[in-house]
Symmetry: C2
Subunit: 382 residues, 2 copies
């Protein structure tokens, strides 16, 4: 099966290497026919080209694998590939979560499929496991530590009592965090992954703006001190759940009980869990990034297409997210504590309190209307 590869960086280079090496008979059925690169300095392989048309207009290429990153030109190139009747595999979570309605619709119209195992959790076989579980069960809910950078920061802050800025700096020095860390620490990266997990788990598309998202930018040592003193660990969690006819989905720091498997996921590891009626909780743990694990996930999707196995059903529709049925107790620290009297249950300190059991929508509205850019919110596990 001939493949056109878009991008030859960390992930794309790994895909090319795994397929060229051909360690198994399944991988030897795959062939990288052409590779789109950015400039002449990358033209180290006779298959490289600077012109996407060389791939899009080649009828012998059945599948396009995109590992470029960024919104454009990735989105436009994949749309054109789908229109030309080519299947698509992507590791680009931000692009796919942003343009999911457009790309799934185009795939459906052209009788081809979009695969995105590598978009969540690196090599963790999360999407494949959801597909497999759904052969027997509906998925009731999922939750995940989807971001290794923030887990590294939270784990180290928790175990060593250090402060946020110090750990962020260290994560940047280790190469875990980008120089502009906003995608990680403000929760955007997790939001994309939650959105794509909802697509796979529930067959629904959503506007990513509807996924309530809080990150860890404002967390302080004092927040973790309270958590620890009360028997909790702190993790940044992305969740989705099917509640009645509605999907709830959010990204929020959570204070988790210490005997929760998720409370004990160390350093930069990821963990993702689905829950369903007969299987119950099923949890997957791994390093959520890295060239070869992510490339492995892309190659697995290519084999899925070659085997025509569990083809992605493209008949999905946008469904609004409703977080009113997501209820819980929230820890909030804010310099405007007087504004929160309505939802307050118990004051913890001069500027922190626990809410009554309220919906995430109520909590979110109260926080948004307070307009406090130092505010930290976490959900407290029951």
């Amino acid at each position: 099966m001939k493949i056109g590869l878009l991008g030859h960086g960390v992930v794309g280079g790994g895909v090319r290497a795994i397929i060229d090496e051909g360690a198994t008979w399944e991988v030897r059925e795959l062939e990288i026919a052409k590779i789109l690169v950015k400039d002449e300095s990358e033209m180290v392989d006779p298959r490289t080209t600077l012109h996407a048309e060389d791939i899009l207009n080649d009828p012998s290429i059945e599948v396009v694998a995109e590992c470029m990153g960024g919104l454009e030109p990735a989105h436009t190139l994949l749309k054109k590939a789908l229109q030309k009747g080519k299947h698509v595999v992507t590791s680009n979570k931000k692009m796919l979560a942003t343009y999911c309605e457009d790309l799934f619709e185009t795939a459906r119209e052209n009788g081809v499929t979009v695969h995105y195992e590598a978009s969540c959790g690196g090599g963790i076989p999360w999407m494949a496991s959801l597909d497999r579980t759904r052969r027997v069960d509906d998925i009731d809910s999922f939750r995940g530590i989807f971001n290794g950078t923030t887990n590294y920061i939270l784990s180290r802050m928790y175990s060593e009592g250090t402060d946020f800025e110090e750990m962020l700096k260290e994560a940047q020095e280790l190469g875990y965090a980008e120089r502009d860390p906003s995608d990680d620490i403000d929760g955007h990266d997790v939001r994309y992954k939650v959105s794509l997990s909802c697509v796979k788990a529930f067959d629904t598309l959503q506007n990513i703006q509807d996924i309530v998202t809080y990150g860890i930018r404002n967390i302080r040592k004092e927040d973790l001190d309270w958590a620890k003193a009360n028997g909790y660990a702190c993790k940044l969690i992305g969740t989705g759940a099917y509640r009645g006819d509605f999907i709830s989905a959010c990204v929020i720091p959570m204070f988790l009980k210490k005997d929760d498997v998720f409370a004990n996921i160390p350093l930069n590891f990821n963990a993702i869990e689905s829950r369903s009626k007969t299987l119950g909780p099923a949890t997957f743990v791994g390093q959520g990034a890295g060239s070869l694990p992510t490339a492995h996930a892309v190659v697995q999707n290519l084999i899925d297409i070659w085997k025509n196995q569990d083809p992605e059903i493209n008949d999905k529709s946008i469904r609004p997210i409703d977080n009113t049925l997501h209820t819980g107790v929230f820890y909030i620290r804010t310099k405007k504590i007087a504004l929160f009297a309505d939802i307050m249950d118990r004051r913890i300190s001069e500027d922190a309190f626990l809410t009554r059991k309220i919906s995430l929508v109520q909590a979110d509205m109260a926080v948004k209307s307070a307009v406090d850019d130092t505010l930290f919110i976490a959900e407290v596990a029951e």
Copy 2:
């Protein structure tokens, strides 16, 4: 696809319930045609029978699913089913590990397959993940907390400083441990699972007696005190590895570093991890037992057969296990400490010491020749 179900207890009843309910279109392709039960009191369903021949001689039944437990008559019935050209699914780890050469050979001769997802880790999709990973990578090694009972006992002893007998009694009262706990605490249950994991990971059969096996029967509070004081947790670990042309495989308590994911698997949870070249470590965590999760795994195998997907390759051969390449440092507590001068590196207390870095074979020979039925051995993670 018509299925003959052998056994209608905890797991068999779950399989029948999931298939009768038919929650997905895949499950609705399956049909329980007949159910073998033990006596008339179990004949509550028109499909039940007391005669295995009703299933074995029914040519419309393509698959036999065995959930009886025990060595016989399970082994003989499955062998007959294979000889009649029926595929086989089993949740019976002890029987399959004991008769693997006979049953895989019979399957190969008759052009049918043996499936055993439910034999390890309850609902954890361990075998399916090995199959999927092997499409791209060879498996280098695996390790697992394969037994929930012993993990419960070790976790509670560790966190509360209690002694073994007390925790075993509690596990028995909670229904986690059998009245005769030998299969769990002496490591036999893990040994069966290691053997079957080797079949799936490495395509090799082994004599289970060759898998060096130590349990936790002799562990004492003082052993865990030393582990804790030196930064380790203790878990009962089953491992298998491909080393050159040889397979090493063993079951042994391990002192694991605290930031190891496995060190933090709480209570009665199971965890299993594979390592391979491009995927790296991939870890699965779940409750390793229970009626519905185990039944879910059986139903998944039935769907695999119906889809003729990743058929189990039966061309496997017995390969001797060689643990000489498995080297490590071992913690040994024994009342015959004078006998161990050859392998001792550092004395810890009057009756406990750490070995030099030696092979598991050396450690095992020294322990066996000392003949001390109070001896406790654990491998210390490097």
